[in-house]
Symmetry: C2
Subunit: 401 residues, 2 copies
């Protein structure tokens, strides 16, 4: 497995483009993206569980149920959420326009939107965006697409991986946006993954669920789950290798690469979290079950007080113990030990005689790990979170203005 | 029912005091409080459900199980939490010292501590605090006690109410501290309620649970539940009226007064929340059950994005809808309507043609209400929350320094 340059167009047979269509009138940044597979691709997706699923999410979910896609159009600046029947009609029209432009059927075009909630899409500008993107599709255009989907992100997020199988290579690529409203079970997060592997839709869906479950669903910037989040994965088979069958070694290698891709992307999302100055990995072990470990890791990762302490670079392990204690998991308080990287700050539920300076030095890093053991069980889990900074508040207090 | 001046010493037969014992060495604020009933009182309490229950909480919970108390000693500056066996021994010693000073038994003295976690109590200074408080007990001392329990609170919080029953009057008084780590199921919050009504422990416990369940357990500043939170209620019968029996009109009047006292205190806690500039009331109706309504109200009240929008005075109703949508409650998105005070911003799951200025004007107030209806059910609930401000982050990033 090796990292390669690029993102969604790193796998063979994909082209992409980005265009500034002024979806938000005052904005001049690229805000429309199109990712297209040259041939029909298998598709799988994972979507927000929010009751207020945005119309584009509903549309794209239906496409995933059919399992086939030629590509996806994404706009930032407007989420087309809480827009009712008109919102759904706007999605269908967007898909129709994109299908027309690339010579496909509307049913095979995914549509995703991110931005302000409750405002209808400016359809004339969407049309301009669709047509400009379709005319500009290219392999280098992957970077433009990654830029176009950004909202409060400060950097475009692209990752690509290549793996060697016995008979050739398979590539996977991804782009993602989303730096606030990020919480387990995804958030205002859009991630498009492409691969030139040939994988049947059902197998692709299974692989995607596995990979997202231990990466993108284990991160937190704030604790809000948006109406728009989605991870979409297209597999077009352009590698030329035979279809990957679950249970084979080749499929396991593909799954491993997909896991790595999703985990790298999850960390990239947290690293670029709104106002984030830290990426903190929380590892819990010794729990009765993985599920228990996961609840504890999540409680710490979502705690507003832990996150402000990370921001303040304050090795306040009491807040970590406190969050573990209200996770809703039964464990012996006297079994808790906590490490900040290699500095043990608590043992048997009590503070150790650690050096305050050593603990503080760990917290001063941009990235560090917190390890908790809570007993002798075999349950373990990992979670990634950002700190909660003054800038986070500024960004979100002033979002619409 | 009428408001009267004072707090825990407004009811007859209670005296209190506060003293600066330098529990945190550098601090010169009052940090020890003692509240004493002149005669044996019934006692009831509600306590944190955090696994890391602090030793004083364990001690005071046991006292409540016995149902009798002469008073409570409270220190701020050190929570005596995550301090193990030594912490428990320190609590017992504190109770012994207080009992000795006022002529009572240690088992009847509650002990509560709030402040830093994981550091042992400075027992010599605690002893000085106990003795100074015992020597200074008085009715005006209620105010000193309310000041002594403050940590990051900016104002002491005292409330008192008097009710007339057929044969006389009953008074209730309260003091509380707690402006961060505040979350449903209480938090780093300490509230002491006194009354000169005569109420048996079991009836008092029932009344307290009812009152706290619809007040103090329905507030949120941040979402962290502390290791130390506690509401304690002492009833000493000094009103001279016969014992209040559940099921009687007099008991109902007492319950109503206790509800009001707890609700007023809950709002006072949020109003003084760390960094808070707003008190926002969230009312949900039309849910299938009160429990469903409560989950929706809580999701909105705890949403970091809603709370930053409140701070930004941004009528971003989409975030409110979004939080309602991930509350884990099934309702028809098209049944959602939202009002900011009297300004309806959403109807049938869609934005109304509201005036942005009118909506913004509501948000500019220090206190306002958000109403949501989610269907035709009879379930309803209310929740109080603060905004999430830049100051909140500053306060909590720098807490220990």
């Amino acid at each position: 497995m090796k990292s390669i340059s690029g993102g969604v167009t790193a796998p063979r047979g994909f082209r992409a483009a980005g265009f500034a269509a002024h979806i938000k009138l005052k904005s001049t940044k690229k805000d429309c993206a199109l990712v297209v597979s040259d041939s029909a691709a298998s598709v799988a997706g994972m979507f927000t569980t929010n009751i207020f699923k945005a119309p584009p999410v509903m549309w794209t979910e239906q496409m995933c149920q059919r399992g086939a896609s030629r590509g996806v159009f994404i706009n930032s600046g407007n989420a087309n959420a809480c827009t009712g029947e008109e919102g759904l009609a706007d999605v269908a029209e967007t898909a129709r326009l994109a299908a027309l432009a690339i010579g496909a059927t509307a049913e095979g075009i995914g549509v995703l939107s991110t931005g302000v909630i409750g405002v209808r899409l400016p359809m004339a500008r969407i049309q301009a965006g669709v047509e400009a993107c379709a005319a500009a599709l290219s392999v280098p255009g992957g970077k433009d697409a990654a830029e176009a989907i950004m909202t409060t992100d400060t950097v475009p997020k692209e990752i690509a991986i290549e793996i060697s199988l016995g008979n050739g290579t398979v590539r996977l690529g991804a782009m993602a946006k989303g730096s606030g409203m990020i919480c387990p079970n995804m958030a205002t997060m859009i991630c498009v993954i492409t691969t030139d592997a040939a994988v049947e839709p059902a197998a692709l869906s299974m692989a995607l669920r596995g990979a997202v479950g231990m990466s993108i669903n284990r991160i937190c910037v704030d604790n809000d789950m948006s109406t728009s989040d989605c991870v979409l994965c297209l597999a077009n088979g352009a590698s030329g290798l035979p279809a990957l069958e679950p249970g084979t070694e080749a499929f396991a290698a593909f799954q491993q690469a997909l896991n790595q891709l999703c985990q790298d992307m999850a960390k990239a999302l947290v690293r670029d979290g709104e106002g984030a100055t830290k990426l903190v990995e929380i590892r819990v072990s010794g729990a009765a079950s993985d599920e228990d470990a996961s609840r504890i890791a999540r409680a710490v990762g979502q705690s507003q007080l832990c996150k402000t302490a990370f921001y303040g670079e304050d090795p306040n392990w009491g807040r970590i113990a406190c969050a573990a204690g209200y996770a809703g998991v039964a464990f012996e308080p006297s079994a808790l030990s906590i490490w900040l990287d290699e500095v043990q700050v608590a043992q048997a539920g009590r503070p150790t005689a650690y050096e305050e300076e050593a603990a503080a030095a760990v917290m001063k890093q941009r990235e560090f790990a917190i390890r908790l053991t809570v007993g002798g069980g075999s349950g373990e889990s990992v979670f990634w979170t950002s700190d909660l900074s003054v800038d986070y508040v500024h960004i979100n207090a002033d979002y619409r203005s």
